[in-house]
Chain length 334, copies 2
Amino acid sequence: MEDKIQDLNKTAAIPPPLGGRGAVGADIQVFAPATVANVVCGFDVLGFAVNEPGDEVVMRMTGKPGITISKITGDNGRLPMDPAKNTVSVSVQHYLKSIGRTDIGLDIELHKKMPIGSGLGSSSASTVAGLYAIKTLLGDESDVAGLLPFAMKGEEMACGHGHADNVAPALMGGFVLIRSYEPLDVVRLPHPEGLYCAIIFPDVDVPTREARQIIRKNIQMKDAVTQWGNIAGLVSGLFLNDIDLIGRSMKDILVEPVRSMLIPDFYKMREMAMEMGAVSFGISGSGPSVFAFTRDEDTAHRITQKLQQHLTGIKIGSNIYVSTINDKGPRVIG
Amino acid sequence: MEDKIQDLNKTAAIPPPLGGRGAVGADIQVFAPATVANVVCGFDVLGFAVNEPGDEVVMRMTGKPGITISKITGDNGRLPMDPAKNTVSVSVQHYLKSIGRTDIGLDIELHKKMPIGSGLGSSSASTVAGLYAIKTLLGDESDVAGLLPFAMKGEEMACGHGHADNVAPALMGGFVLIRSYEPLDVVRLPHPEGLYCAIIFPDVDVPTREARQIIRKNIQMKDAVTQWGNIAGLVSGLFLNDIDLIGRSMKDILVEPVRSMLIPDFYKMREMAMEMGAVSFGISGSGPSVFAFTRDEDTAHRITQKLQQHLTGIKIGSNIYVSTINDKGPRVIG
């Protein structure tokens, strides 16, 4: 069976003519959004994009075949400048190879505007920004979802596994279901208008690889049934515009009990958020970031401020964000 | 948290006045539909109702407190006439107790119009017909979903566990998700118009209890992830009216591999149905009935006829049915 990406088959990029923005010297600046993977009950199959934070990539056509990385900011020197080791350049290289255009010369600047290792899809945001930059520079008008396999190559390098639950929503915007990996089958889901996301990143170290390794490999069938009842409930709530059902369904009895151990005062923070009117509260991706859905912006701000205060009280720094769902994915900003 | 049934809280039956149809001597005849539980990937959480087959209950107000069963047809003597042991009378008794009307006298006739032990929700159809009959006789106008807890009492007696994946769709019609049992949370799902269901009941014995016991109690997390990606895909396909997505999602790697062993030539029948244009093929409930979704009535008929022929060839009798999805649940027929 062929890969299905939003039921669009026109996903294969066709070698585009050079010209217009694709000429030597042309440049572009692209923003791509942070993402919340798993969405509590949808381990490895669900994710959504937010409007804030995100990463930025500046890309220039150099005329000299090959990719260079001239600048990375905001990473405290943690990301590789070597184009063979950076997820942005590696995924762009895969894309160029697929369209038979390895003759192209590119220089990349990566501006990290969001924390690394936060569980907010930091590498995905960078990768998607890079891929959207080159697609736009070359005037490739095929569906953006066609970039997904290249973005997954970047994830494979960054996290050790080519998952799509961050890159797919970063690329396509909104809520995305990864129904299947083999073949790749990605479905965009609707969501209620006016759903706000409050994000708190406690500045502690939870590497993705390790956060995966602590997850149980064997589970009880009855727990799996509970979990898939909840996933089906969350998906139904998204389609039905039913925020109560979304809240009731966002429970995770399989992964959260283990991963929450790596997050300071997780259950205390959840209690606080729920008492303040959150619809739901859980871990973003593999953590340590946590997020709450709320019905309005004000509640989201009060939750982020209260939880930041709480973390400060136990000597843990944090970044906080309040955002609506990002429905557009990456965008050109310059 | 309170139980949620279709987000309607008006589910508690209120003691209604006797009068009108509820007078001594009043009678009613009700049909309730067969149901397909699990729907391949939704083990224990999904089910849908069909228009054919189903069961019929005739109920009469006798004026003498207590419930009698005067006749059961179509069961080859397999069902108990004792009102304390028959699922119909037991669930009706629970309902009468809940509304404080154990003073009422009833006589029940049960006409089995579908095979017992078929995996098509035979006991659910009878129970729901009985509950709908008494509700209507008494002029109880509360939401029909409020009967669900009483119907589950009947299931508990019939199958040893009070599951809702047959009774909920039999009662509410259409596709139903049982998101949670504690608290009970039931969500009605839409479905594409023009979806046909081809049902084949091979006449072999697969008792529900035993079919449950062979299911593995422990499973791999990675298999559970595959399964809940598919459930989320099926629910999405139902909302999106996307029959291709429904078909791609209806895969079961956890329960079918075990239960299919109890069904003669299961994989051969699937191969035949898919070759003839079925959207999907799988086990109905705990079997031995199997079902296929098709895009048109003609394909459904060709599949049931071909599979019946095949089963005859291996000396197994069968019943076959072709139906659209039943959206209304039970109905008064006399």
